[in-house]
């Protein structure tokens, strides 16, 4: 990260971390696919697959510790996010919600895992992809369930509102369903991860920089590191919370599309 700052030729003093620190150059020159975030995404897919295949392999009546751990995550998504929110048709969407939750969670937590230390979701491309999936799924579900015209009518014309109000409400509703929802979904996740990582960089790189200064600055440096460590715990909470929120909102949107009346 510092090397990048050097690369773009900033001056010798302390360069506060900025958006440029999230642009990690490919380690194979000119290969856009050979970057840290992309490797991390594949690593997350491998880790999640291995963990859950091992955990579910025996599917025993009395679970082992591993199976219990896997089941806890699965049944949390299945029951608290799927069944509670979507209702009786929830089972169709459990695999998607489960994938969404574990994928976001692991990629977020990468932000504080030693050696990896980069939250993949701070690269906007990935939240965009996930929000697009959710966007297409909940619209598809709604159209399948109610038919295209009825679905559009339900979105545009809320029942129980005086007719002139539709001039105001209808564009708002359309914007909500087709613009605001996917955008907020992806931006919320991205911004949280981006800002969280930036915060950690400020305190840890700052602490490092203070350590190279005069004796007075050296004494301040431990405080910067301490705050960095405290923020790491805070970040872990945010990372879990964001995975939960993204999945919860997806479930809510699907539930809304399935419901006959909003």
């Amino acid at each position: 990260m510092l090397s990048y700052a050097a690369e773009v030729g900033k001056d010798e003093g302390f360069n506060p971390p900025d958006a440029g620190d999230f642009n990690l150059p490919p380690f194979i020159e000119g290969n856009e696919f050979a970057t840290k975030p992309i490797l991390l995404v594949f690593l997350s897919v491998i880790l999640i697959s291995i963990f859950f295949i091992l955990a579910s392999r025996k599917a025993a009546l009395v679970p082992s510790k591993l199976q219990f751990a896997g089941e806890s995550v699965y049944s949390f998504v299945r029951n608290d996010l799927g069944r509670e929110v979507i209702g009786h048709e929830f089972m169709r969407f459990v695999p998607y919600l489960f994938t969404l939750f574990t994928f976001i969670l692991v990629n977020n937590v990468f932000g504080i895992v030693p050696m990896l230390q980069f939250p993949t979701m701070s690269r906007i491309s990935f939240p965009y992809v996930l929000a697009a999936f959710t966007f297409f799924i909940f619209h598809y579900v709604g159209i399948r369930k109610q038919g295209f015209l009825k679905y559009m009518k339900e979105i545009m014309f809320l029942p129980g509102i005086p007719k002139p109000a539709y001039i105001l409400i209808t564009p708002l509703e359309l914007a909500t369903y087709f613009l605001v929802r996917p955008l907020t979904l992806s931006l919320r996740l991205f911004a949280n991860m981006f800002a969280g990582h930036l915060l950690l960089l400020v305190f840890i790189l700052g602490g490092e920089h203070l350590l190279q200064g005069v004796i007075g600055l050296k004494l301040i440096s431990p405080f910067a590191f301490a705050i960095g460590i405290a923020l790491t715990f805070f970040e872990f909470m945010v990372q879990c919370l964001q995975a939960y929120i993204f999945t919860l909102l997806t479930a809510l949107y699907i539930a809304g599309a399935l419901a006959d009346e909003h």
Partner: protein, 175 residues
């Protein structure tokens, strides 16, 4: 080294990268397929089996409870029977005891009556004997007294008894 324009574009964190979008799409789809094929059905199977086991256990417990209740009922009925039987036995014993006492009492009464009767008979015969011997002795004494007074020797047994009889008859007549 990147070109300046590329670097500037990359500094805007809201602009997605084609490579990352492709990778994100493929990686996520891949994970979805793996979890859907290999993980979700197995967890669901385990859940279903567990539910089954719990339900089976509950049914068994219910059955056992019903059996226990039936047994309890049976025991209660048996206890009631036993209590009734004990009471009737006690009643019978009491009645028998009373009958025995009554019988004994009657027997004792009879015995007492019998003893009293025999004692009376004995007394009667004693009295008779005493009367007889008294009569003899009184006769002798009276005769001796009379012979002394009369001066007539009345040694003869026959005569003596005739005189005594006559004397006694006179006594009875004078009564």
């Amino acid at each position: 080294m990147r070109s300046i324009e590329l670097a500037a574009e990359e500094l805007n964190p809201l602009i997605p990268h084609t490579a990352e979008i492709i990778v994100g799409f493929i990686a996520f789809s891949l994970l979805y397929l793996v979890l859907r094929r290999a993980v979700v059905p197995r967890f669901e199977k385990a859940f279903a089996e567990r539910t089954d086991a719990i339900q089976g256990g509950m049914e068994r417990a219910e059955k056992a409870q019903i059996e226990a209740e039936a047994a309890l009922k049976q025991y209660k009925v048996q206890l009631q029977d036993a209590r009734g039987e004990a009471a009737s036995i006690r009643e019978e014993a009491r009645a028998q005891g009373a009958a025995i006492i009554e019988e004994m009492r009657v027997k004792a009464q009879e015995e007492a009556t019998r003893i009293a009767a025999s004692a009376q008979a004995a007394i009667e015969s004693e009295r008779q004997a005493a009367l007889t011997s008294l009569r003899n002795e009184v006769g002798t004494l009276a005769t001796q007294l009379a012979s002394k007074i009369v001066g007539e020797a009345l040694d003869d047994q026959v005569r003596q008894s005739r005189i005594v009889d006559r004397f006694l008859e006179d006594l009875e007549k004078s009564k």
